[in-house]
Structure formats: C-alpha cells, structure tokens
Amino acid sequence: MSAFADQLLVLVMLINLVMLGSSRLIFSIRAVAAQGVILGILPGLIHPFSGHLAAITAGIILAKGILIPYLISDAVRKAQIRREFEPFLGYVPTLLLGAVFTALSFAFAEKLPLAPEHKDLLFVPAAIATLLTGFLLLTTRRKAISQVIGYLVMENGIFIFGMLLTEAMPVMVEAGALLDLLVGIFVMGIVINHISREFSSLDTSRLRTLKEE
C-alpha cells in the first residue's frame, strides 16, 4: 500500500506546482480541494484500520475537500474576482522556485534522523515541499484570496507530516485543529468580503495605510 501512498504524494507535489503556475483563482481552489481529498485518503493507506482512522479520514475530506473550498469559492463569488493580477513575483519564476524547493526538500529529507520505517516513504519530502509552496504563495501573491490559499497549502504540508504520527494526536485534538482551521477560513472569508467592499479591490498591497512614518 505504501507504494500507492507514494504515488499520491507525488500527485500532491505536482498539484503544488500547478498552483504556483496558475492565475485563475477558481482553478487554484479546486486544486487545493483535490489536495485535501488526497490528504484524507493517505492515513488509511499507511496505518491499520481503526475507528479513529475512519473519523480522521472523514473529517479531513469533509473539511479540506468540501467545506473550506466551498467557503473560499463563496468569497470569490461575492467579491467578483477571477484572477490573480500582477503577483509580486511572476508565475514562471515562482514555478521554477517551487521546483527548486521540491528538489531541495528531497535532499534535506535524506539527512533527517527519521525512524527506520519512515525512511523510504515520500511523506517528509512531500511535507516540506508543500509547506514551502504555501510560503511562496503567501509571500508572492497580492490578492487576499491567493494568500488564504497559500495558508491552506501550508497547513496541508503540516498535515502531511502529522500523518506519520496519527497515534500521537488523539481524535479530539485533530478534530479541534480541523475545526479551528475551518472557523479561521470562515472568518478570513468574511474579512475578504469586507476588504473588497472597503477598498473595492482585494489587492492586499493597498493595505498600506497603517505603517510608521
């Protein structure tokens, strides 16, 4: 089964690159949703079946695959924007950077003192690569919605690492973390709405009034 898990993780990393290269917001949201669904399937492939596991799978797919993407696309619809405009760094450079980061995360994961049974899996490099992709999106994009997507991708990266440890995080804590993420995105969605009303644009580079003179 772990061979299949590795294939899915490669898919996750490909989705990262797709998001870095795309300017259409709805497309990015769908990509994040697909990533969420894959994240939900993964724990079932590497851990023996249990009620705990089923709850996690259902929770992740529901939150990351359905609810959160719905909330973001709702915000996109209300704010009536389709594309990311003029990111601080162009699509091709970020795509190249993303590829370099992915390669580096493989090299880095080699050196980590992992438990022997995790040495041959792709979880750690995929986690690092996804985390870095999230940071890239967060720092190079201008639109508030793209930043939220970046934040989600970053959280996905953290979740991938967390999968190695599903026993350590009891259901309640995981459920709490997912719920917090959900509420956080919900609040961000509302804030996005108000930003677009106040500034008649979602360009966070216009959020510049508050600074030291």
Partner: protein
C-alpha cells in the same frame, strides 16, 4: 469546577447571541466576568486533582495566568457596559460573543496539560479575537484585522509543526508518541535531540509571533491601534499571557531534556533584547497613543522573554511581571479608550490637556504610564527590579546593562508622548462629544490601578507562594 470555568462563558456567548436588545446584551459580560472571578478564586484556594486522563489540570503556572486573565476580564466586562452605552450606533452582538468565547478559550489554555489541546485553545483565542479588532468597521481596522489574522494564523501553524516535531522526537526515541506534558517531561532526556531542537525553534517562532516578540511583532501596532480599548486590553493582558504560558510549557520540556534548555534560553534572551530595542526605537515620536501602547506591549513581552531566558531568580520576576504587565496594560488601554472617545481622535496633535478635560481618565492614563515604565511604588517596578538585579547577580552584565538602557530610552520616548497628552490646556477648537467620565468607565480601571499599587507595596502571601511554586516548576531552587 474546571469544566464550569470553560463551559459557562460559552453558555454566556449563546445567551448573548439570543438576546436581541443592544442595551441589555452587554450586561451578560459583568455577570459572566464575576462568576468567572469567583470560580477562579475557588480554584486557586482548592485545586482539584488532574482530570480527563491527565489532560486537564490547573498547575501553579496555569494559576498565575488564570488569575491575571480572570481579574482583567472582570474589570473589562464592567467597563464594557459603560463603553458600549456610547457605541449604541452599531450592534455589539459579535463583540459580546467574541469576548466570551475568547474567555472560555483562555481558560482552556490555562488548564491544558496536553500540548495539542493547548494549541487548539490558543488558536481559538486568535480566531475569536479577529472580529473584535474589526469592531469599528472602517478601512484601517480591516487592514489591521487582516494582518493580525494572517500573521497569527501562520505563526500558530508553525507552532503546530513544532508540536509534530516534538511528538516525532518521542516516536523516534521510544516508538510511542505522546504530547502530554507529564510523560513528555519524564522521558525528555531520552528524546531525539535533533527533532527536539527543531521542535523548540518552531514552537518559539510560532508562539513568539502570537505573543508579539520582535521580529515577529509586525501585526501588533496595527491591531492594538485599531481595536477598541477594551479589546486592546484583553489582547495585551490576556492573549499575550496565554502565548507566554505556551512558551513556558516548551521551556519546561527543554529544561527536563537537560541539553536543549541552553539554546532555548539564549534564543529567548536574544528575542527579548531585540523586542526591547525595537520598542525603544519606535516608541519615540509616536503620535498615535494606542500604537504607542502596542510598542510598550512589545517592550514588555521582551522583558518577559528576558526574565525567562536569564533563568534563576529572574523567573520569579518574569512570572510576577506577567501579572503586573497584564493589569497595567488593562488600565492604560481602558483609559486610552476613554480619551479616544472624548476627543474622537487618537493622535497627540489633537489630544492635549487630558487631565483638564477628563481628570479621572487622564489621571489614570498618567498613573498607568508611571507604573508601566517601572517606577515605584507600583508593582511592575518590583518585578522589573527582580529581573535586572538577578541578571547582575548571576553575571549577565551585558544583558542587565542593555535592559536598563532600553528601559531608560522607552521611558523618555513614552514620556514625550504621554506628558503633552495629559498636561497643558485642551485645544479649544475640538468638536464636543457626548463622552463624560462615569462610574462604569472609570471605576473598573481605577480598581485595577489600586490592585497594582497594592501588589507593589504589599504583595499578598498567597500570591508570593503561588509565584514561588510556579518558579520552582521552571527549575528555580526554592
């Protein structure tokens, strides 16, 4: 009883949601605040044994933070009734609900012994405070909310990664991962050092950005500047202390591991000194007095970090300072909220002669300034003195010297803003507002100021014992 501490505010939030009347709704806050304070007093006197499989336990460190939060919230709750009567033009439903949910989450932070649960509670405080910063519904406050939400969420996400690294270090060492504080500390010496090191870095960065330690403080001046004074008080005295408690938990684990603690203490010292330096630079010529308070908060989280980083006797000072800073910031934010209401402006270009226009609020603001800059006889003087003297006693002359230097610069910088604000004659051409000092807007901060004075002159015996117990949990020999 501990469960009541967390569930009752949630019930209160539900009631606040149901009550339709904008004038009646804020009354829930003082009711809940008083109940919370009584529960806290009972819990401090008679602590129940660990419950829920060891996940929930109120230890001395949690008690210090809980005491500060409960006292601050009760004061803010009474103040809120007075304050919101001036803000009837907009619905206060979200504000009341957010405050109560945040109170519940802060309570949960203080009693969590499971680091995952602690993380969930801390993230809940972040999210529940976000709509409150946006209470004023203008372009500036939405910008502040966005920065706060994004930076704190990313920061706390990194803390989650740190927690996973910590759990992984136990997994590599013994193939049985756990995040419960007790077992973690018991097995800390055998943890994988590489993963523990990574965990300490990520947790410090994550919780540090939530606490507002430089260089992760960039959201702070905006959020504190734009939030209503009452929310600012809870951010600076409540959320900061919750984040500090989380750092204390990491400190406990690093201490138990024996090796990691040196790195952790050095990082805390470094970040603390940088925070104080940043505050000292930006405090000078700060025209917006609420932003000035934010820089003062950055300075004081720096002091807390330095106290913790020094170790030994300074830890007692840091724990005491946690309480003093929380309460004094409460006085400053509440009285600055009054001044803001009265002048409907928060820059020193307009706000002058507050002592003449608002003798009570102006006086409280001035007294709060004197207290927060570490002047006797107020209690922040005692805690800052404890930290700096133990720095010199234990041979950290450079740290102690820089600490004093930054304190002096901050004092001058803050005085340059505060003194013109409160002294002199109020400008004649300001628009009249309907704000007047009343019992409900002045009484609560006045009470808190009295507590600060009391703590400075005569700290009660139970508090001293509590702080000693807390310090002994952080490796201080009694």
């Amino acid at each position: 009883m501990i469960f009541a501490l967390i569930l009752l505010p949630l019930v209160g939030a539900l009631v606040a949601w149901i009550v339709p009347d904008n004038r009646l709704r804020p009354l829930i806050l003082p009711v809940m605040g008083s109940i919370h304070l009584v529960l806290t007093a009972l819990l401090l006197g008679n602590t129940p044994a660990p419950s829920a499989g060891g996940w929930i336990w109120l230890d001395p460190l949690g008690k210090v933070v809980l005491l500060c939060i409960s006292l601050l919230f009760a004061v803010c709750a009474f103040y809120a009734v007075g304050y919101l009567s001036y803000r009837q033009e907009r619905s206060n439903r979200i504000l009341c609900m957010g405050l109560l949910v945040c109170l519940a989450a802060m309570g949960l932070v203080t009693v969590s012994q499971h680091l995952g649960l602690l993380w969930v509670a801390l993230e809940t405080t972040t999210v529940s405070m976000a709509p409150l910063i946006y209470f004023n519904r203008n372009a500036r406050s939405i910008e502040a909310t966005w920065k706060y939400l994004l930076i704190c969420s990313v920061g706390i996400g990194l803390a989650l990664l740190g927690l996973l690294f910590l759990a992984y270090s136990t997994y590599v060492a013994q193939h049985d991962a756990t995040l419960l504080l007790g077992p973690l500390m018991a097995s800390a010496r055998g943890l994988n050092p590489g993963w523990l090191h990574a965990a300490a870095i990520f947790l410090l960065v994550g919780y540090g950005s939530k606490m507002g330690l430089a260089p992760l403080h960039t959201w702070k001046p905006d959020a504190y500047g734009e939030a209503p004074g009452l929310v600012g008080a809870l951010l600076a005295g409540g959320l900061v202390n919750c984040a500090f408690l989380s750092i204390l938990r990491v400190y406990q684990i690093c201490l138990a591991s024996g090796i990691e603690i040196q790195f952790f203490q050095k990082s805390l010292l470094g970040m603390g000194l940088i925070s104080m330096a940043f505050a000292a630079v930006f405090m000078a010529r700060q025209a917006d007095f609420k932003r000035m308070l934010a820089y003062s908060s950055i300075e004081h989280v720096g002091i807390l970090a330095i106290g913790l980083g020094l170790g030994g006797g300074a830890i007692y000072g840091a724990l005491f300072h946690l309480l003093n800073n929380g309460l004094t910031k409460g006085v400053l934010f509440l009285s600055s909220g009054n001044i803001h209401r009265s002048y409907s402006n928060k820059t020193t270009d307009v706000v002058k002669g507050a002592l003449t226009r608002l003798p009570w609020s102006g006086g409280l603001f001035l007294a709060g300034f004197i207290a927060i800059t570490g002047s006797p006889p107020f209690s922040p003087f005692i805690s800052e003195y404890t930290i700096v003297s133990s720095a010199f006693i234990e041979g950290h002359h450079l740290v102690g010297g820089l600490f004093l230097l930054f304190l002096v610069i901050v004092f001058i910088g803050m005085a340059l803003t505060v003194l013109p604000m409160v002294m002199g004659a109020p400008p004649s051409d300001i628009e009249p507002t309907d704000y007047r000092d009343r019992l409900l807007t002045v009484g609560p901060p006045l009470l808190m100021m009295t507590v600060i004075l009391m703590l400075g002159i005569w700290p009660p015996a139970f508090l001293v014992t509590l702080l000693r117990d807390g310090a002994s949990m952080l490796g201080v020999q009694p």
